[in-house]
Amino acid sequence: MAAAGPLRPFLARAVPLLLLGAVAAFPLVFTKPFPRHLMIMIFLYGALATAWNILAGYCGQISLGHAVFFGIGAYTSTLLIREAALSPWLGMLAGAAIAVVGSQLIGYPVFRLRGHYFAIATIAVGEIIQALVINWDWAGGARGLFVPIKRPDSFVNFQFHESKAVYYFIALGLLLLALGVTRWIEGSRRGYFFRAIREDQEAAASLGVHVAREKHWAIAVSAALTALGGTFYAQYVFFIDPESVFPLSLSILICLVAVLGGVGTLWGPLVGAAVLVPLSEGTRVWLGGGGKALDLLIYGALIVLIAVFQPGGLVGLAGRFRRT
């Protein structure tokens, strides 16, 4: 598409605004639960993948243990409701804070490793935390925790049983927050340092970049945003257990979404979510039940193809077409 002269900057401004308008109007047009649920899942996975992308895509530290931060968010707010009757909104902030502290402790050993070995260590961290939670009776152990249902719907209680529209806008808010933070980092000094570390950390250090400190910043921001998603999930589903919020499969799913869309780009993770979530929900509805794993079969094949032919993801693919 070769937009002429002044049309191009106009389009660049207009298209995102139009999209945002369409997204805002969506729940008014689609009032059935399923399309709204679909969009909520796209926003949630888009936000999680965008958060992961800050650490992995920009800073080059490929974490396969991000479910840890998601689970921390879900468990913190839920336990605070039980123990202190605290509003999940405050629980959300507490969860993000604990995730940040946790990320710093985790970062200390794992950031000594590079590349594949870093990835393996983050899997190990995820497995340790999951095993600990499973065996932690006070936190519900393997049985998990219910979020006590409270009626009527209220914003303070973060519970909306009448309509999914409110969840829709909260999830959209989380996504926009994650995208906004990414955009801000991208244009800041820190974003440049992150990318330098991703490319070659020795060379970055030789130019004065404090590599360890920058990595710790990246994981802190990424963990906080991921934890927000965890609290949202708990308040959306009303039940959490180690199998649903701490599993390796969730960590992997978050990465796959980002990798498919395009790692290290602002929009890639969202694009990945917009493709994978409907695919996954669609095959589930179409085939009935998730037991056949057809969605994962297609994911897996897609990811291999992306890795081999287009490591830039779908966004990179689009860029290639635009240039030719």
Binding site: E199, S206, L207
Partner: protein, 241 residues
């Protein structure tokens, strides 16, 4: 007055002594050449000075301050910049962005860093390649890119590892001019160089290494006459032009 002082540096890798009791000094604004055959320990010496590896023994001081135990990024922020023998550009970033990493040490303002980086790129003759990805540059251009990147940190001491290594003969005079230009901007330079003609042209003083030890330290003319240097190095590989 001394800018950099290396005293008794020793580094062993397993049973191999890469550097043994190396001592020399660099004054502000000086241009020192380091020569020696392959395996003489030249690049190890740079790694020790810049904190990439820790010495087993000895000290490195900058302006009288002991920097031996500092990390590479701390040493860089004290004003010591380097290039790598095996080039290490940030491949997926543009030339301009590569240089901005260096410039961002002295300013948090990305716009200011961009302007500083443009200037540094221009000073190495890469202005028109500013928006090319580093992986798209030729070897000679990557050498210039590394110089610009190091320069952008505003170093007081610049360590150059084999500026003319691996580039074709035609590019060498340009690179020599460039090193002279950089030197004229004020920093002291320590230059590792294989090409004897280049080093004789450039250096005010030469430190010769062999098997990890300093075997001579003096004016280029003295080095040429030094019996151990002739034995170790010049006798085999250098033919007077």
């Amino acid at each position: 007055m001394t800018l950099l002082a290396v005293a008794g540096l020793t580094k062993r890798f397993g049973g191999i002594v890469a550097n043994r009791d190396i001592s020399f000094e660099v004054r502000p604004g000086e241009l020192v050449g380091v020569i020696g055959p392959n395996g003489a320990g030249k690049s190890t010496l740079f790694d020790l000075i810049t904190g990439v590896t820790r010495p087993d023994d000895g000290r490195v001081t900058l302006d009288g301050r002991d920097i031996t135990a500092l990390r590479p990024d701390q040493i860089s922020r004290l004003g010591v910049a380097r290039t790598f023998q095996k080039l290490r550009p940030f491949h997926q970033m543009t030339a301009l962005e590569n240089v901005m990493i260096g410039a961002l040490q002295s300013t948090a303002d990305v716009g200011a860093a961009r302007r500083a980086a443009e200037e540094a790129l221009a000073s190495v003759g890469l202005a028109e390649r500013a928006h090319a990805h580093a992986r798209a540059l030729s070897t000679g251009q990557r050498k210039r890119l590394e110089l610009a990147r190091a320069l952008a940190t505003r170093p007081r001491l610049l360590l150059l590892d084999e500026v003319t290594g691996g580039v074709d003969q035609g590019a060498i005079p340009g690179l020599i001019r460039l090193v002279r230009d950089l030197h004229a901007r004020g920093p002291a330079l320590v230059v590792i160089e294989h090409n004897m003609q280049v080093i004789m042209e450039l250096a005010q003083r030469i430190v010769a290494l062999q098997l990890g030890e300093v075997i001579a330290d003096g004016q280029p003319a003295e080095i040429l006459r030094h019996p151990r240097v002739i034995d170790a190095y010049l006798g085999e590989s250098w033919r007077p032009a």
